[in-house]
């Protein structure tokens, strides 16, 4: 069963006093019955069908050079659409933002380095940090997306990126995105970092510029429900009756049959007699054959009998009188 988290937006509590006051419920009941005649618009959870998210960062992919960014230390550059830090000096690059106190912000960017390096990001109000300092784990030589949810501890006016080491290794950053989750989903309904990572993964590089429809939740929910229904409604394959060869016949009252289940296991029920000894009883079709020869022991009117399954699909009689009823019930994997 898929676990579905539906993000809902709680409506405001609005109670319209339109009727006379009604009787109260008995204490211990599921609850007081409340006032009759009131039109209670509470407890409405309205599904959010469309979510338009805005990347608060301007020029987050550095496609317009340093436009929107402030190079405080005057030591960074934009090369091939990436912010490149090529100095051992501490640097600070900033972008002015309107940070709301106690709001949660999803923050993500790509980063890589050619050696050990460290970069920290934070929200600031002037020179004062208004969020925890978020260190990044920089991958060597390969871009990796660093994402986190940052909760503002006060009002702020900028994002600050600072180098936090004295090594001279080259650090490259790209595709910054910051989304105010509290504003978008409502306080208390903010999704997790993992959920946001998933939502953004539909975009190239998990990044977009400006405002985009984050996802149509109704479509997503319908899709997942359809998946679950398809899984629940999946029917097992019907039994298949084989073509018996070399004089082998089904015993009266029993029909030989086989099928393959959803896990790729072939189930065989074989009830035959009167065929030619050491001959092929029937042949399993492609896809229903074992990967190696199998020796199956069965019963022939009380005595031990044996058949051999060959990888080519033939089921050969091996032992047991052909005047006896051969009975075999077995299963095997096809992979």
């Amino acid at each position: 069963m898929h676990k579905v988290t539906v993000i809902t937006k709680k409506t405001e509590v609005i109670t319209l006093k339109t009727g006379p006051r009604g009787p109260q419920g008995i204490k211990g009941d599921k609850g007081d019955k409340g006032d009759q005649g009131d039109v209670n618009l509470t407890q409405l959870n309205t599904k959010v069908d469309k979510l338009f998210a805005t990347n608060l960062i301007t020029n987050g992919d550095f496609s317009n050079g340093t436009t929107g960014w402030v190079d405080i230390s005057n030591t960074v550059s934009v090369i091939d659409g990436r912010l490149v830090i090529n100095t051992s000096a501490g640097i600070a690059v900033q972008q002015m933002l309107n940070i709301i106190n106690a709001n949660k912000y999803y923050t993500a960017f790509k980063v890589k380095s050619d050696g050990i390096a460290s970069v920290v990001i934070s929200f600031r109000n002037g020179v004062t940090n208004v969020s925890p300092l978020i260190p990044t784990n920089i991958a060597l030589n390969n871009f990796q997306i660093q994402s986190q949810i940052i909760t503002a501890t006060n009002v702020g006016d900028r994002l600050n990126i600072a180098r936090n080491s004295t090594t001279s290794n080259i650090v490259e950053l790209d595709d910054f995105i910051i989304i105010n989750l509290t504003s978008l989903f409502g306080a208390g309904n903010e999704p997790t970092k993992e959920q946001m990572d998933y939502l953004l993964s539909v975009y190239p590089n998990s990044w977009f510029n400006g405002t985009q429809e984050l996802i149509n939740y109704k479509q997503l929910l319908d899709y997942v429900i359809d998946l679950d229904n398809a899984k629940a409604n999946k029917t097992q394959e019907a039994w298949i009756t084989p073509t018996l060869l070399n004089g082998w016949v089904n015993n009266a009252g029993n029909t030989s049959r086989y099928k393959k289940d959803a896990m790729g296991v072939v189930w065989v029920e074989l009830f035959v007699n009167a065929g030619t000894t050491s001959s092929v009883i029937f042949q399993l079709p492609v896809g229903y054959r074992p990967t190696q020869s199998l020796f199956i022991t069965g019963n022939a009117s009380g005595a031990t009998a044996q058949i051999i399954l060959a990888p080519g699909g033939n089921i050969n009689h091996s032992a047991g009188a052909n005047t006896s009823l051969h009975r075999y019930v077995f299963s095997f994997r096809t992979d």
């Binding site: 084989p242 073509t243 060869l245 082998w248 016949v249 030619t276 000894t277 009188a321």
Partner: protein
């Protein structure tokens, strides 16, 4: 997928399969049984083998008969 009885152009049974080649015929009919080489004559399965091996009934050996008797006795005891 549906399993078909695959024959050659003459109707001789080749195999049970889900697909068949251009020179073969896929039949959606009941499977044969009791025939050495089934042949579809257009309405039913008939014997297609030109030489039917003489059936040599393989009677149970003394050991097999004894084993069968022991099995029956065991089943009788378990029923008690």
């Amino acid at each position: 997928m549906k399993l078909y009885r695959i024959t050659n152009q003459e109707g001789l049974f080749l195999r049970d399969d889900f697909t068949w080649e251009e020179h073969e015929i896929g039949l959606d009919v009941v499977p044969a049984q009791g025939l050495y080489q089934p042949k579809w004559n257009g309405t039913e399965w008939v014997e297609g083998a030109t030489e039917i091996p003489k059936q040599q009934p393989s009677e149970p050996s003394i050991e097999e008969r004894l084993q069968a008797l022991e099995q029956l006795e065991l089943e009788r005891m378990l029923e008690l």
